[in-house]
Symmetry: C2
Subunit: 216 residues, 2 copies
């Protein structure tokens, strides 16, 4: 019984890690679509989201079955409950990459990001993708050292978002309202992906140690 439980729990966590891998692909593709005005790639991100949603439901069903049939306690219970929460956050990260893809699609054949803000958006996207990539492994390895690293990256994300706002709200902003509105929302979406990534990493710390992570 206990061994079967742990096998199934392991399978839930390996699904979580795989879903996180899919989210990473979505964030990468959405960013690529955004920077190149590639409508086909944007469509791929939007279509692929149904698969992430479907896998979320499967993880939820599995976790629910584990709770119902095995009535785990203490650390095991913590792991199942955390899985239910992490899968919601991963799904949201997928939704956010869809929002990015939709802004890309809306501006085709133009590109939503002005040339002089491109490097800032590229860096924000790199941070978000890098964080999601780390979380793939943090979930798989139950790595408790992850959050500290991710917190630094989240801080850089905040700085980049602020510099985007400084540029947009300056008197010499040459790109008009549409570009500014797009960038304000894009900044928000990348920041939220980063927030969720850090939150998932923190949940892994809680799962492993029973203590809240020192960083949030």
């Amino acid at each position: 019984m206990r061994e079967a439980f742990h096998d199934e729990l392991e399978s839930v966590y390996s699904d979580l890690s795989a879903i996180c891998g899919q989210v990473k692909v979505s964030v990468e593709r959405a960013t690529q679509a955004l920077l190149t005005g590639d409508a086909t790639l944007a469509e791929q991100v939007i279509t692929a989201d149904a698969d992430i949603d479907h896998r979320r439901e499967r993880v939820e069903d599995q976790a629910f079955a584990l709770l119902s049939l095995q009535a785990p306690v203490a650390g095991d219970l913590r792991m199942v409950v955390a899985a239910l929460r992490m899968v919601s956050e991963l799904e949201r990260m997928g939704d956010l990459s869809v929002h990015i893809a939709k802004i890309a699609r809306l501006r085709v054949p133009e590109v939503a990001v002005p040339v002089d803000q491109r490097s800032t958006v590229v860096r924000m996207a790199q941070i978000a993708e890098g964080m999601v990539d780390k979380v793939v492994r943090i979930i798989a390895d139950r790595d408790t050292e992850g959050p500290e690293d991710l917190r630094l990256q989240e801080e850089e994300m905040d700085k980049l978002r602020r510099s985007l706002f400084t540029a947009m709200l300056g008197d010499d902003w040459p790109h008009g309202v549409e570009a500014a509105v797009d960038l304000a929302l894009l900044g928000r979406y990348y920041e939220r992906i980063a927030d969720h990534a850090l939150s998932v990493a923190n949940r892994i710390v809680f799962v492993v140690t029973g203590q809240a992570a020192a960083v949030s």
Copy 2:
């Protein structure tokens, strides 16, 4: 044992409903601060969020204890798991009202919303507040008729947000980039509050019927 379980579960749901009531106050105050440029009121929303977070933790602890000590199954298990998810969504709704309050605070002594967009923002805020208010009762009464009503309101929210974008991106937008960026983010925040409200109402349907709500 069963009776004690159901008393505790009832106490969890009454806490959820009370937290939702606090969220409603936050959304109302944040909107008021936004429309009047009232920094004190904005501060109150920001400060009060710690209390929502604290109550969320208490609900989480209670739900975790119920799972751990009582090992509920079937409908009871569904109710405890749903409570864990709803409390996360309620907390996010509180965070979103803080974001609205922060935009209000940032523009004091000015008002972030231009006069000619005021009625649209007021209507968005009314919808969001009305939805949150309904959810207070939907949770308390385990009302399964709620979502259909809320879905119509969410549709109106989408329309309002689109009309905001049409105004901002028109050639004759007179208010410049800052007002547009503020409105884009405000529209997003109110829309997300409405999304979460509908999602919580849908979870109540699932809790009561064991079936996903027909509307989402």
